[in-house]
């Protein structure tokens, strides 16, 4: 028999807040975005959100070698979401699992509406999202960083897609669930928007919510997206100037 002694510090909420890490219900975790961090990639970005560390590389537009994926009148946008083996508590076996296959698919759908794919027929734009450390909310972090990497690659876009989750934890609708809130909480609603129009390009809901709670969470996530959007722009300005 193996016994594990542990004293995992989950944090204690301050009096002002119900949240374990002391944040207000509509408060994001600390956020940092940097553009242009890799040499070989055509575009790249690094993002930290709380304990999440995400690196994104973009290659393309470039020739697509797989004929059956080729689109005669536009480029395809392919995304690969991948977790490093050491990014989580229990080592993740390398290679795609069902979760990463699904996230790759919806990430591609979340970014596609913003990109002028029709300018590059028969081509591919490849987005590689590497989760170096995961602490809840990596799919949103990956989408947010991917937009910056696409911009860094000079890919022409209608808008910078931005993503953030809201959810319900401890009975309260809150913004940007931490890992503990995601795991123990009641629901998680990841959202991505194109901020210029406010249109939604990613939407999932996992957990049980009344229609009212869902609407509240959706609104909160959209507000979160708008805050994050500013940091995306700052990262690009920091790299390229206004």
């Amino acid at each position: 028999m193996i016994t594990i002694i542990t004293n995992k510090d989950l944090g204690t909420g301050t009096e002002a807040s119900q949240r374990a890490d002391g944040r207000a219900f509509d408060e994001l975790r600390p956020l940092k975005i940097e553009a242009g961090v890799l040499k070989r990639a055509d575009g790249s970005a690094y993002l930290e959100l709380g304990g999440n560390k995400v690196l994104v590389a973009v290659y393309g537009p470039r020739e697509l070698h797989i004929r059956r994926l080729m689109q005669p009148n536009r480029a395809v946008l392919r995304c690969r979401y991948n977790m490093a083996p050491f990014s989580v508590d229990d080592r993740k076996r390398p290679g795609p699992d069902r979760r990463s296959v699904e996230i790759s698919k919806i990430t591609s759908e979340a970014l596609t509406p913003a990109v002028f794919l029709e300018k590059f027929p028969r081509s591919t734009i490849d987005v590689f999202i590497e989760i170096l450390e995961a602490e809840g909310g990596t799919r949103c972090a990956g989408i947010t960083a991917a937009s910056v990497a696409l911009a860094d690659a000079g890919v022409p876009m209608r808008d910078l897609v931005v993503s953030c989750a809201a959810g319900k934890a401890d009975g309260q609708v809150v913004l940007d669930l931490s890992e503990v809130e995601d795991k123990d909480g009641e629901a998680d609603v990841p959202v991505a928007i194109m901020p210029r129009t406010g249109e939604v390009t990613l939407l999932q809901s996992d957990g049980n919510l009344t229609a009212e709670e869902f609407e509240k969470a959706l609104n909160l996530a959209i507000e979160g997206c708008k805050k994050i959007s500013k940091e995306q722009k700052n990262a690009i300005i920091k790299r390229y100037g206004d």
């Binding site: 069902r98 979760r99 790759s104 698919k105 509406p113 406010g198 999932q204 996992d206 049980n208």
Partner: protein, 265 residues
């Protein structure tokens, strides 16, 4: 495989929609004809054959005794798997499940799990050591659009149809009594309702033709009490917040009717 839909079809379907019509004469909130049979596979402990229009899925369950996950030692497991077998459409290929198949299985699984359809704690046998694992397999036979709703409807029915052996623990021994078959511990019912956005309109239960031209898709999983247990946007174009909120409220009405198709027990 690239499927080329002539622009002319897209245009005509879109124009119909703008006039409030669909090419198969359905209303925007109407499902195609639904048929649902349970108990169709005797070797499966539970089974259902569901048809929505020509879309046809066979769902079967197999219970197995296995070990619980280490972080949930006294909770049984529901495992959902989906196979878009090449029988079902000319562009489905043999091989490991592709991303559409994985998404279908995962959304179906989330919908059932988050709704609390099964009382998984009642599927524990010996805490931390042995639990029932219920394998739910979606076998897609004919793909004519809207797999999501058919998958959840068939899964719900197959789970309601499933009987597992009574188990008891006597000392070190687990006794599985195949002569006493008991139903699964069902707590909730949940179904899914999918909308396609075409020409600015949201229509329920998209046919294959509608799927091939849609701008966006939204699938909403809902419990009997009208709460939302799962949601998944798809498609290459966006939705507005307003469209999403309206889809939720339409779903609340539509799933009420959809529930009627489930076996009554």
């Amino acid at each position: 495989m690239v499927i080329i839909i002539p622009e002319i079809i897209k245009e005509s379907v879109t124009n119909l929609m703008k006039n409030g019509e669909r090419s198969d004469d359905r209303g925007f909130d109407d499902y195609r004809e639904i048929s649902l049979e349970t108990g169709v596979i005797k070797k499966a402990e539970g089974s259902a054959r569901v048809k929505i229009g020509n879309t046809q899925i066979m769902v079967g369950t197999k219970p197995q005794i296995g070990e619980p996950f280490s972080d949930t030692p006294n909770v049984g497991v529901l495992m959902t798997n989906s196979e878009l077998i090449p029988m079902a459409a000319p562009d489905f290929e043999p091989g490991p499940p592709d991303e559409r198949s994985v998404e279908l299985a995962r959304v179906t699984d989330r919908c059932m799990r988050e709704a609390g359809v099964l009382d998984l704690e009642k599927l524990a046998i010996v805490e931390g050591e042995k639990v029932w694992m219920i394998f739910l397999d979606l076998h897609i036979l004919d793909y004519d659009g809207n797999l999501m709703d058919a998958a959840v409807l068939g899964s719900m029915a197959a789970i309601m149809d499933t009987k597992i052996p009574e188990t008891r623990v006597e000392g070190d021994e687990i006794i599985i009594d195949r002569e006493k078959m008991i139903p699964l511990p069902i707590k909730e019912k949940a179904l899914m309702c999918t909308f396609a956005k075409i020409g600015g309109e949201l229509v329920v239960d998209p046919s294959l033709e509608e799927e091939q031209i849609l701008d966006a898709r939204i699938s909403i999983g809902m419990r009997e009490d009208g709460s939302i247990c799962a949601m998944q946007k798809g498609g290459m174009k966006p939705l507005t917040k307003d469209e999403i909120i309206k889809a939720v409220s339409r779903t609340q009405k539509i799933t009420k009717n959809l529930m009627e198709h489930l076996p009554h027990n």
